[in-house]
Symmetry: C2
Subunit: 290 residues, 2 copies
């Protein structure tokens, strides 16, 4: 039933054929090392679509020269088994040379929501993300693609690119999946030492503290200070801990009613990120994640 | 018969429908102000395809701040008549706000063949070209698109982008059309004063001199000096006059067998460019344009 496809032209033809036959095609782009977060995207795609394509490609251009490209976990056998269990029809696993042909000289550069946070911490990261996602969308011209809210800024960058270029694909952003102690699921959690693993709860804890203070009417500076204190108290070396507009990621204006809290930091050599949309202020209802 | 389409989603649906019905769709992207050069592209597309789409969009992002965007000729009524006479089915004429939505923050940046010549003379020009051509190809997902050799470097940039991103469209580059005296047809020729018009022959003349010297075995420095002398003698203010590799546009290695000659310069406030592929050295056959 399940088929691994390497060639982009073959992949595109299969998707076109399925859509021409009236099937709705869902696409989940991944770098492999699949966990329950990915599984939730695949499950959502399976519910909403007739056919699901999952790509597995560890994209070199979104890693900085000092980053973890070479040691990024590669677990293809386990990934394939997980996807088979979820009824995924096609795994798109292109060769690096077909994604980046010799003499490759083209990059997609997104400004706006890509500029702050990860954009500052990881120069070129979102150029690599936007470029590979565009190429994947051209090879897998699905009806809709699924991304995780864990990489909130990435989802904003992808949505902006899709809108700006007019790529004919819908984008669905799915809730972050968490370990029982609150740690957001990530392929990079596997890097954490036994000693650091319990400290990693600091990220989600700082976000919950932010949500409480936000709902209680605290100001941005107070909330951000508390987030930093929570992270530091667990030994996290902070890259950023901030509130921002959830769509533009611009700094919050005074009297903002909507906000997202974003954190990034390091435990040993492991870099972790997390975020949480905060409940609309003054609203009687709270968001799903608070 | 002929239909002007403004909406990208509508345009895409029409092209998909035609292709699903087994028709081969050809696409000629233009900025309007159509002349016999454009007509030759349309004629070629009509011979090779069942349906032809021509876009007319004066793309602001490929003009520099000091360039001629506002005065660029706009001749929609004449353009429409010309395209009707050529049996063009669809004219795609998007609004600027649908090509560049508010908050637009995405650019496609090509290196390689985009770096020298026009890339140096017009910073950002090819980012604007690559970005708009990608958007046009997504709105008009034709089988094949036609470009003029007059903008040789542009055609290389487009081909590189298409290959690098994996855009599923073929690119055909058609010979430059010329006035009886040799001047390459261009919408910008309309800017030339009566006094400057005869001087504009200098560009094609310099290219013919280059071809003669190249065939006679002259070295690059001699050929480039002669090109500059020819241009200067007619009063052209030179931007560049050079030989390069016809695919990469890199400087020619010693003993190169293939070359292109490229010139750019100004007469008054009118900037003109031209180029010519030189006959393969040592080959008994000459290229079509020499």
């Amino acid at each position: 039933m399940q088929q691994v496809v390497h060639d982009p032209d073959h992949m595109r033809a299969l998707v076109h054929e399925a859509r021409a036959a009236g099937q709705r095609v869902g696409f989940v782009p991944t770098m492999g090392a699949l966990h329950a977060g990915h599984a939730s995207l695949v499950a959502r795609a399976s519910r909403e679509c007739d056919v699901v394509v999952v790509s597995i490609f560890v994209n070199p251009t979104q890693f900085g020269p000092q980053e973890d490209f070479t040691r990024y976990p590669r677990t293809l056998a386990a990934d394939t088994a997980l996807l088979a269990a979820h009824g995924v029809r096609w795994i798109y696993a292109p060769e690096a040379s077909s994604v980046y042909p010799p003499g490759d000289a083209t990059r997609i550069v997104v400004g706006g929501p890509a500029v702050r946070f990860e954009g500052e911490q990881r120069p070129g990261h979102f150029d690599g993300v936007a470029t590979v996602v565009c190429k994947l969308f051209l090879a897998v011209p699905a009806d809709v693609a699924y991304f995780g809210a864990k990489d909130w800024q990435q989802s904003l960058v992808v949505k902006r690119m899709v809108r700006d270029l007019g790529l004919p694909i819908g984008i669905v952003v799915c809730p972050t999946m968490r370990e029982p102690d609150g740690l957001a699921m990530s392929s990079r959690n596997a890097y954490l030492s036994v000693a650091d693993r319990p400290r990693a709860v600091a990220l989600s804890e700082s976000l919950h503290r932010a949500a409480e203070l936000w709902s209680a009417g605290a100001d941005t500076a107070t909330i951000e200070r508390t987030m930093r204190e929570t992270l530091s108290s667990h030994g996290v070396v902070i890259d950023y801990a901030a509130l921002a507009d959830p769509e533009s990621l611009d700094p919050l204006p005074k009297n903002a009613t909507r906000a997202i809290a974003l954190v990034a930091g390091r435990l040993g050599s492991t870099r972790l990120i997390d975020n949480m949309e905060l409940p609309t202020r003054g609203s009687p209802e709270r968001g799903a994640e608070t």
